[in-house]
């Protein structure tokens, strides 16, 4: 049905274009049409330049109003996330300032100086001073941005084991995630894909003889205590994946054959995040859409969609194969007590193995 509608729309558009051209051609019928722009073309296109400028501004405003709640520029749920957001807001403001001015100059000049027969353009080939100005201003601005950015970057990346983080391994495979907690010793046991033994349910290839591995805990959900620095160690068993946690402003690729890492401190629990006014609005809006979509599904005799409840997510953000689009894991940020209670319930690695 959609396809049919699409085709019909396309046909209409084609006809419309054809008509437009006919009108243009008829309007020119009396002229000696050399296919080179004449004064009339210059006038029309000059005005269209201003219309187009308006279009650029309008689409900018519409985008901001409609989709500009920018979940990635507010509501950061991690400590460094706030700094990233600040940098983002500064960069964005700068960009929109420059964009607004330069697009105006470009299109306004195009309109203002539209050609007329007999007028002569200004022979103006060079001005060292002007060029110096627009070399030096971007240089200074960018120097500021670079320095700010580099400080932020170094802060984010400089997480090490010395800061006593909670160490968790993120393990990627086509097409799901596992997490491995380091247990009471907070040290992950050695692991290699060559040690994978499906029959013994050693699915991450953890070294069974490593004393550090005995108290490791493998889970299919990530639970994080709020306010505690966590250091993720990423591994992949097959192809490249990328552990993307947008709400925490965190991302790192998982590379077969090496261990990568990313650390951050979550600052907002899942429960708190669900209660923020922005999130309540967002979830309500999504559920409105889902109810709407469910109607169509029910008509087709299918199950309606389940209502949506907010959760932090870990997404795969590096193309990894057929089901790349559905490779996710839930992240739950909770209080220390809730976390302790949850981790106590999980099976230790040494107890999770199937004995032959």
């Amino acid at each position: 049905m959609t396809a049919l509608l699409t085709i019909i729309v396309l046909i209409f558009i084609t006809v419309a274009i054809w008509q437009m051209v006919k009108i243009f051609d008829l309007a020119n019928a009396n002229n000696e049409n050399t296919q080179v722009a004449n004064d009339k073309d210059n006038r029309i296109n000059g005005y269209l330049m201003m219309v187009f400028l308006a279009f650029i501004y309008i689409i900018t405003i519409v985008c901001f109003v409609k989709w500009g709640d920018l979940p990635l520029m507010s509501n950061a749920a991690s400590e460094h996330g706030v700094k990233v957001d600040n940098l983002m807001i500064i960069s964005m403001s700068l960009i929109f300032f420059v964009q607004t001015i330069t697009q105006f100059l470009l299109h306004y000049f195009a309109f203002k100086y539209k050609g007329e027969k007999g007028r002569k353009a200004l022979f103006y080939a060079d001005n060292d001073k002007l060029e110096f100005i627009w070399t030096i201003i971007p240089t200074i601005t960018l120097a500021g941005l670079i320095i700010y950015g580099l400080f932020t970057w170094n802060e984010i990346m400089n997480v090490s084991e010395e800061d006593d983080p909670l160490v968790i391994e993120l393990y990627a495979q086509q097409f799901n995630w596992k997490a491995r907690y380091a247990g009471t010793d907070n040290t992950l046991g050695m692991a290699n894909v060559r040690l994978i033994d499906i029959n013994r349910a050693n699915i991450l290839g953890v070294d069974e003889s490593d004393p550090n591995a005995q108290d490791d805990i493998i889970t299919t959900e990530v639970h994080l205590p709020v306010g505690k620095l966590v250091l993720f160690k990423m591994r992949s068993q097959d192809v490249l994946h990328s552990a993307y946690m947008p709400h925490f402003r965190a991302q790192m690729n998982c590379v077969p054959g090496m261990i990568t890492q990313f650390g951050f401190t979550p600052t907002v629990t899942t429960a708190e995040m669900r209660q923020t006014p922005e999130m309540i609005d967002k979830v309500a809006n999504i559920n409105r859409i889902r109810i709407e979509n469910s109607k169509a599904l029910v008509e087709k005799g299918e199950e309606p969609l389940e209502p949506y409840e907010f959760d932090y997510l870990l997404l795969c953000n590096k193309i990894c194969g057929k089901s790349h689009y559905n490779m996710q894991m839930k992240i739950i940020v909770e209080t220390q007590e809730e976390y302790d209670a949850w981790i106590k319930e999980q099976k230790l690695f040494k107890n999770s193995l199937v004995q032959n």
Binding site: L10, L106, Y113, V193, P256
Partner: protein, 596 residues
Amino acid sequence: MSEHADTHAHDDCGHHHKETFVTKYIFSQDHKMIAKQYLITGTIMGVIGVIMSLMIRMQIAWPEEPNVIFEALLGKWAPDGVMDADIYLALVTIHGTIMVFFVLTAGLSGTFSNLLIPLQIGARDMASGLLNMISYWMFFLSSVVMIISLFVEAGPASAGWTIYPPLSALPLAQAGSGMGMTLWLVSMAIFIASSLLASLNYIVTIINLRTKGMSMTRLPLTIWAFLVTAIIGVVSFPVLLSAALLLIMDRSFGTSFFLSDIFIQGEVLHYQGGSPVLFEHLFWFLGHPEVYIVILPAMGIVSEVIATNSRKPIFGYRAMIAAILAIAFLSTIVWGHHMFVSGMNPFLGSVFTFTTLLIAIPSAIKAFNWITTIWKGNIQFNPAMLFSIGLVSTFISGGLTGIILGDSALDINVHDTYFVVAHFHLVMGISALYGMFAGIYHWYPKMFKRMLNKNLGYVHFWITAICAYGVFFPMHFIGMAGLPRRYYTNSNFPLFDDLSDVNVIITIFALIGGVAQLVFLWNFFYSIFYGKKTVQNPWKSTTLEWTAPIKHIHGNWEGEIPHVHRWAYDYSKPGHDEDFVPQNVPLKEGEEELQH
């Protein structure tokens, strides 16, 4: 008498040999014919690439819904009109490959370098016509192999146009990594060879075959852009070739350059000690300069078209050259900004942030210089001029967001989201396409001796311009909402449900924009046969190609090649009656040549 001497001189050059259909239209060594061959091959590849992009958009907007277009075009890969997830990735991959390499590298550079280098520097032909012909036919061959790969049983390459291993190396990881990927690699290897032959030819021709008086600082900016593009190509394409060859070895001969510690489908593979990150380095060592290989020729074309149609000299000629050179140099030391979150050492990330943001400076110079060129001009809105202004506009819009992506701290969060897709489509995709359109509208009379219909050109531009912004402007916002690219459907993430209406709007703009290209195609092919006949210098331009006769002859000029007496931008120069002074007109008594 003198006329006779001219003809004689011409005969001496040996340009009057008999031509057969084959030597004239197929295995031609004439640069003008080769340019047309590149253009038409590029256009056909472009049509395929654009159709793929429209299918991608329809899938994103209406996921899992039966679509008769899918059923018709994809056959067994869209049972009952529902697109398969594997083929979605294949479409994404091949769309990217075709557009970047086959359309915007070969189609753009190949066409206009070939057409303009000899004509604008005053040469009879390329330094080596034979090499030129071989380079085109290798490009043709690589296109054919790429098209054949679409019909492979298990599907074409589908690891993304960046073909990161291990996904691209292991048929176990993905159906498309079998024969499809092999053909992709073979096609690209041939393509790279073709591109290297062509680039070397361009460089040699520009350095050696300039006519009398054509000093480097009198060259039109198009030629500067083509020269620098060719140099970047020669420097960086071989690295991609080596990456492709090493990948072929990993795939077929059991080496471990890029692979290590892999467990897939229940078995451990023997690979040990390689690193996918190495591949990323090699790939992006070409991959990033490639962006400039694509955009620099477009910028050169646009500089030329803006000056001609503003009837003003290009503002800051030397600064423009300096900016091209600076961009070219910087382009080879910024590749790591594609790899901030690859697991590369964070210190390297800092270095690449620094070099990357520096590129904004020469880019800003270029944008400001174009705007100043328009200022107080007498702008002739020919379709080529519209597309040139369009390029400046999209280059600014798309380029500015590069400040965010080049900043490692910010890239963490928008890396591989639709924000990136929007950024590079605007700044190199649409911009380069506009440059290509500007070139086609501007030099069509030179290529085909006839004019394109200008009204169709206006319709083509305005619909395209509106749709380009309509597609890619909102796309930044879904990127900033965290939506990853290359997802077959977003329906598994209720989190993104509120973005589905944006995706529908984007797709509608894309479909309208796609259909608008039919206007161009019709205009293009119709005008080859029935377009209005052109005069020798329709745009009243100063450069040498317009001093050559309309009729294509071997050797370009009857008789002697014109000598050059001034730079390429004497538009509206005081003291002249006409508002342009061609480069071959000697300076008047007491007239000063502008030394800028």
